[in-house]
Symmetry: D2
Subunit: 259 residues, 4 copies
Amino acid sequence: MTQVIDLNCDMGESFGAYTIGLDQEVIRHVTSANIACGFHASDPNVMHKTVALCRSHRVGAGAHPGYPDLLGFGRRAMECSEEELIDYVIYQVGALKGFLDYYEVPLQHVKLHGALYNTLVKTEQPFLNLIRAVKKAFGDVIFLTLSTPLTAALKKEAQQEGLRIALEAFPDRMYTDEGELASRKLPGTVLKDRAVIADRVVTMVKEKGVNSVNGRWIPMDIDTLCIHGDNMESVAAAQEIRAAAEKAGIEFRPLGSFL
Amino acid sequence: MTQVIDLNCDMGESFGAYTIGLDQEVIRHVTSANIACGFHASDPNVMHKTVALCRSHRVGAGAHPGYPDLLGFGRRAMECSEEELIDYVIYQVGALKGFLDYYEVPLQHVKLHGALYNTLVKTEQPFLNLIRAVKKAFGDVIFLTLSTPLTAALKKEAQQEGLRIALEAFPDRMYTDEGELASRKLPGTVLKDRAVIADRVVTMVKEKGVNSVNGRWIPMDIDTLCIHGDNMESVAAAQEIRAAAEKAGIEFRPLGSFL
Amino acid sequence: MTQVIDLNCDMGESFGAYTIGLDQEVIRHVTSANIACGFHASDPNVMHKTVALCRSHRVGAGAHPGYPDLLGFGRRAMECSEEELIDYVIYQVGALKGFLDYYEVPLQHVKLHGALYNTLVKTEQPFLNLIRAVKKAFGDVIFLTLSTPLTAALKKEAQQEGLRIALEAFPDRMYTDEGELASRKLPGTVLKDRAVIADRVVTMVKEKGVNSVNGRWIPMDIDTLCIHGDNMESVAAAQEIRAAAEKAGIEFRPLGSFL
Amino acid sequence: MTQVIDLNCDMGESFGAYTIGLDQEVIRHVTSANIACGFHASDPNVMHKTVALCRSHRVGAGAHPGYPDLLGFGRRAMECSEEELIDYVIYQVGALKGFLDYYEVPLQHVKLHGALYNTLVKTEQPFLNLIRAVKKAFGDVIFLTLSTPLTAALKKEAQQEGLRIALEAFPDRMYTDEGELASRKLPGTVLKDRAVIADRVVTMVKEKGVNSVNGRWIPMDIDTLCIHGDNMESVAAAQEIRAAAEKAGIEFRPLGSFL
């Protein structure tokens, strides 16, 4: 039987004269794009172009809001209040929605960026409050976050009140026995071998789980897989991995079309 | 017969720890608010509060986008391309719309700020292109700008293609014989006497025109009057002028309710 | 015998069209100014004017660098590396020094702002490394920080290698039994009564210590007292407190003249 | 006889996670670096590294201040007052000087960037006032600008009051009959052929002039030549052109060593 999965990638991270990412290339291999919104990366012109790119490639468009820290690329935690964070997210998603509405492209999902992603994913009530605020402002959009035992529970809890959470896994990252991402600082936790990564994609999608660093089987709730498009190597890897997975009977479709 | 007019004021110009304007006071005397959107002034938290304020006072909410120049408060012209400007406006209006949608407050109008207002109002095609882009992204919102012979013609031209332009006059400013605002630098061109300003409000609304600096009668197309709320004096003036105008049979209502 | 002490105040915190602080007033009552440097507050024009103000009032001029967070006024901790922080400080102090050199005003001291002040004061090696870097770039300037048991020890340690640390106390704040500032959130820890504050100034200077919240005597190493100039009330308080202390035989002089 | 000339290049234009320029490569082929100062490009960490790079390669270090417009990379003119501009320059040069002083590298020169360079070079009194302010703040530094008939005259006038101006030419750009840079928009005005550019370098240095687009000989006052280091091609070109010029008996040395 064909299994369906989404493939998401950060996009639209250039700023003014500065370029990050090979958006024109990687857009051809993913089904959903997390579009930076001008706080940690991007600017209005880049957002305009990125939305147009998503439309022409029929890629699911999502907002990718971050901390107001362009200098740190949103990678540094900032001591903000819950109210501040919620307003930062509404502002950024709203700004992106202007361009989406301009092109009549639906807002498929919201995924937090960098340190904001890492901070919120470890909380429960603040995270739910944020997701509620996003729904209040933007309607029934999918909230995309890391698949962990905690978020898998949160996803079910949220469903009760009509909030949609989608969970992502990283096929090129190793996981701990607890089902958390193993720190990048540990040797060997970021995989490079494309065949190995492609195998993990198939396992993740078909068997709904992954082997931990210690070889222990970790069941996971996975709606989408996250890949990178920073350089030609990662783009080539994306293409190869997707092709291998498709051969194994996996179909890639935007999150919004099947969730 | 009662004449209806709108009274608009810039609002939500505070930023972080910095405060500008007496929003809590002036909101009680106006019918429409031009809400700064974070480029020349404001921040997400201020926008959230300002939208809530508009809702609780049933004041028409408008976006007030400016140049990306917080340091210069949007008062300095920047050599931007038409594409850049359009995207800056879509971004800012979209960001505000996030908060409006959060509170189910409709976006009534868009009014450019400062140097952006001054630059665009003197153009024809670039201005129309911007208004078209705003409509494409945000639907049938009113575009508020200065009433001049040029914009009065533009308003009619725009109507042909379904674009709504509203024109504003400044009761505390003197006008040239050509129907343009007399430079602030000329002595006596900014009026302070509240009784005189109130008289001009009545004339502007009832007789659809104003006497120029040289005493010449200038017919004007006026949909809304712009006032200021920077300090207690201007707020008191607003209250007094509005009361005088109401005594003279003028009714103040949000732009969107009668245009 | 006359005792000499310095009186310092944050200054130059306005930004563009935004005003914070009554610099023109408070400058007349202090002997040292901590001048914001454009990251958490201020801009080049404000810095220029603030340095000119210090010169004309013969007030000791210090740099007051903060986190790169204008939106949060530097009050939110950011997860920066030691290298990042040192470079942020060198950048800001250097920028201020441009204006000081323009007016031939010496750089008397450096005092960190807000969350940066709070973060570093609790560390030992990172703080010393920062002070060393400042000395390497700007020579023999005084580093001003909070007087605590930890910093009193650090001050002596630093002297060994030729680094000058000056310690400040807050006469309007209560202290714990451990000689730390009691949290502002606890009731009664921020004093308002000017006579009480003036008494504490005299005690702090003459007896080198303060009574804790529990009435325990805390010896303190104090080189300067910090006051506020945000509003007319605090300026009036500064004037009154200084006058009372002068009557009690205390002389106020810029830090650099006696340390 | 050996002729001496300086070769300058913009450097340190990266920002946070964003990279522009191949500084590590191009630094090996130039004798002076124009270091961005954080307004149109760069950040404190990039400035630190760039100054360290200049020191280790014994390249003359100059400040390269621009408009406060990171989004536009300083390429868009902004309507600023003379006071604003002077303070923006003092701020930026001062910030760089912090890092130079940290490494005991002298500030060799100041060269404006982008739209600020283009705006000021066409003025006389505002430009002189800026150069005077820079001297007042930073002492006897060289002010580097475009060689035109106007600036050649300004250079002599400035010498009278002890101000040092250095003039630069662009070997890869065509000049009008009036000795001005021909617009980049005209076809053929930006040269690509390295042999041709190398020939022009030799002519510019040895014969103190250049042939205009119409083949007319234009005498020019030239102290330094400007090249680019944006990509591997321009770096290779720089290396080749310099080698060819050295074969023709031209010696390259930092501006400060011979002016």
